[in-house]
Symmetry: C2
Subunit: 196 residues, 2 copies
Amino acid sequence: MRDTILEKAAGLFAARGFCGISLDEIASAAAVNRGVLIELFCDEETLYEAVLEDQFGHYAAAMQAALEGNKLPAAKIQLFAQAFFDLHKQTPYFFPLFYRELLNPSRFFESIVKKNIRRVAYLSDNNIARGIQKGTFKYEIHPANATMLLVGMFHYHFLSQQLIDTLLPTHGNAEDYFQQALQIFLTGITRSAATK
Amino acid sequence: MRDTILEKAAGLFAARGFCGISLDEIASAAAVNRGVLIELFCDEETLYEAVLEDQFGHYAAAMQAALEGNKLPAAKIQLFAQAFFDLHKQTPYFFPLFYRELLNPSRFFESIVKKNIRRVAYLSDNNIARGIQKGTFKYEIHPANATMLLVGMFHYHFLSQQLIDTLLPTHGNAEDYFQQALQIFLTGITRSAATK
């Protein structure tokens, strides 16, 4: 029951933000009574905190899994991008919750949002730094800039879902965008054969 | 007086969204009385519409100016990116207003937001298509994908201002990020000398 409540609450908070949702609406969506919600989560803010912990914990774990192991840095970037992209399909509430926190930080911004985003950024920075050391990526690339660029290429794509039909060609699709963006990024950061 | 009201209202809507702001707060911020607001703008929704018209009109005009003239496609991309980046400093309310519309579309989403974003995307797509025809950019690049990538590289950077100090190195700055992102993008879409 806890999982159902977290899932329904995440959907409502993602759609309308923390301030736009009442405990009664969440109880109704999860088909439980208000008393059960209060017993399990105390109040709406504590429930919101549990939703963020769940969503950001899942995000950080998925991204970390993509960057672990012994693969080469460029292969890890591919896995990282693929995991990021898959997450958008598998946990559709994560990204709107994140964008809402960026526009209106709650009091969990530091303890949950920032902590998990920083953890993922740190792992990606390290992977890119390793690629520079190995001579695969250009020396002048700054790992933190490259990480921000890599995720930024996809964040706007997710954020602008409302616009996608007008902005992208009717025959294109999300997978095309994903492959092309990743290809441009990898070509842009990789040292050319001539300068190696 | 109209301009002052539009500017103050834009700041409040950018910070807290259309639903988070009352007409009294706008009157107080603009140092006019409520009667003046109603005389000039009728009601809060009409004032919000005027703010969007003003902000999105300014955005589209600035981007259009960057893409006009006889420069080469790659030079126009540089001007476009620079104009986009400058706008973030000059009209800081535009981007939060845009992101809020993407998360919670108002009834002006189609008539103002979509119309202006599409206009800019169309001009940028044409510029990239011209670069492909001229043999500067790779044949396999899809103009609409490349445009989305180009703006996406900067949108997340603006959206994540709250996180920047944790994600980017202390010695880096916005200008470094801007130059590096643009360089990676241009390298990624440009045909290499060997294949020309």
